[in-house]
Amino acid sequence: MVQPSKKTLKVGLPNSQSSNRSRDKWPAWAKQLPYFRLPPPKADFTLIDREEMRRLLSGMDSPEPDSRQATVQQNQTDGAALQAIEADLEVLERELIPLFRERDREAKVQQNRYRLYQISFIALSAVATILGSLLAVALNRNPPLVPVIAFGETLVALLATFLAQISGRESPFPLWLANRRAAESLRREYFRFLMHLPPYEALDGYKRRILLAERAALINRGTAPDDKLTSTLNEANQPAAGGD
């Protein structure tokens, strides 16, 4: 088992777009059953809550300043650092979070659809098994019931085929996987930009913002940006090919 560090011993619920708490008292397996109507998502969901972030940063230890002038200087440094981070978060809220919300929500919708269909098939399969067993019993004990049970079996088969036809038109399974991958990729991109990791580490100002918008759009479209690290902006700044 993992030994958590002291600073993270407290385990909370993960940050999620789902706001539903109606199944809190259900058994663990039943909590994961699909919904007939998916609960609405949190409208203001984001990956970093600003208020929480400010509380966290205000509690950070700073070395004790040795004069009034040093205190003013330190406050200015803290203010500038916080301002730069807040500016990055503004860009992320504008360029990436709407796409993340959309992909995350769509992944949940498709996952719910997929599981709803699969569990309907499981239920129908169980009913078919029961009817099959009843048919075997009825053959010996109550032959007049046999056609009724056989009709029930046919009805189950018809329902299963009907559901398979509906689910096959816009199959939820690949849509679920594609949207989940895109959402998780956007989540990583969010922190990649915020932490000034490659490919954002060498850029500044509008170039950095444009690169983010472009990569987020690529992920949203389903193209892994790692396959296309250089943006059109970077390409434009590069010398002509064949230089190395």
């Binding site: 993992v2 030994q3 560090s5 993270t8 385990v11 909370g12 993960p14 940050n15 058994p27 663990a28 397996w29 909590k31 994961q32 990956l47 929480e52 972030m53 966290l56 940063l57 950070m60 230890d61 440094t77 803290d78 500038a80 650092a81 916080l82 730069a84 981070i85 699969q118 569990i119 098939f121 499981i122 129908l124 399969s125 169980a126 009913v127 078919a128 098994t129 029961i130 067993s133 079996e153 046919t154 189950v156 088969a157 018809l158 299963a160 085929t161 398979a164 036809q165 996987l177 989940r180 991958r181 998780e184 989540r187 990583r188 922190f191 990649r192 932490m195 000034h196 580490e201 500044d204």
Partner: protein, 220 residues
């Protein structure tokens, strides 16, 4: 990270530790915990269904043997002892029919959710996160080391998230039992004989959806 000040790096470290690594760790722990519970509950219900099915069949056999074969009861006998045996036999047979079907459904449910396999993926991711956390910067580091450590820490955490996401995608499969059931259901539906009422004759098999309304290409 050339342009970041020391203060900015320290703030980013705190933010990343709480909102990326901390949140991801909470997610993995939450998932591992709830999947373990779900797998155990379904496994118990599955075992209980098997036990109930076996017990019901054995008891039904005992009642038939003692009341109808070696005893004095016949089917439809109005005496109170025989009526009780009849009712008990009916309940036990019902249980013997229902319990295996419920057990089978629970087995397919476990295959659909893949709890046991996914626990391994998330547990490994949790361990790898601890490894990434070990690279987190220390306040005593000089600026250059702090910068390198922060980059290694954050990049390592994002890599764990990437790896987990890739493995998760490969684990999700539609259970074979559902595919088999659908095949048999479609075969049964295909075997239904529709009385000829003078209308258009279906081409056979299950109808295929045609959302555009265009005739199929090839003319057949």
């Amino acid at each position: 990270m050339a342009k970041l000040t020391r203060k900015q790096m320290e703030m980013l470290n705190s933010i990343f530790d709480k909102f990326a690594l901390g949140d991801q760790r909470n997610y993995y722990r939450f998932i591992v915990d709830s999947y373990k519970k779900a797998a155990a509950q379904v496994n118990f219900m599955r075992a209980f269904s098997s036990l109930l099915a076996g017990l019901s069949a054995a008891l039904a056999g005992l009642i038939v043997q003692s009341s109808y074969v070696t005893g004095n009861c016949t089917i439809g006998d109005p005496s109170s002892a025989c009526t009780t045996a009849d009712i008990l036999l009916f309940i036990l047979m019902l249980l013997a029919v229902l319990a295996p079907a419920i057990g089978g459904a629970l087995t397919t449910l476990a295959d659909l959710y893949q709890w046991d396999r996914l626990i391994t993926v998330y547990d490994d991711a949790l361990k790898n996160l601890a490894l990434a956390d070990a690279r987190s910067p220390d306040p005593e580091m000089d600026d250059t080391t702090y910068r390198a450590s922060l980059a290694a820490f954050s990049e390592g955490t994002l890599n764990v998230m990437f790896d987990e996401s890739g493995q998760w995608g490969q684990m999700i499969r539609t259970p074979k039992q559902i595919e088999d059931f659908l095949s048999s259901a479609q075969a049964r539906v295909g075997g239904i004989k529709i009385p000829d009422l003078g209308g258009p004759t279906p081409s056979g098999g299950t109808p295929s959806p045609n959302p555009t309304g265009n005739p199929p290409a090839g003319g057949d």
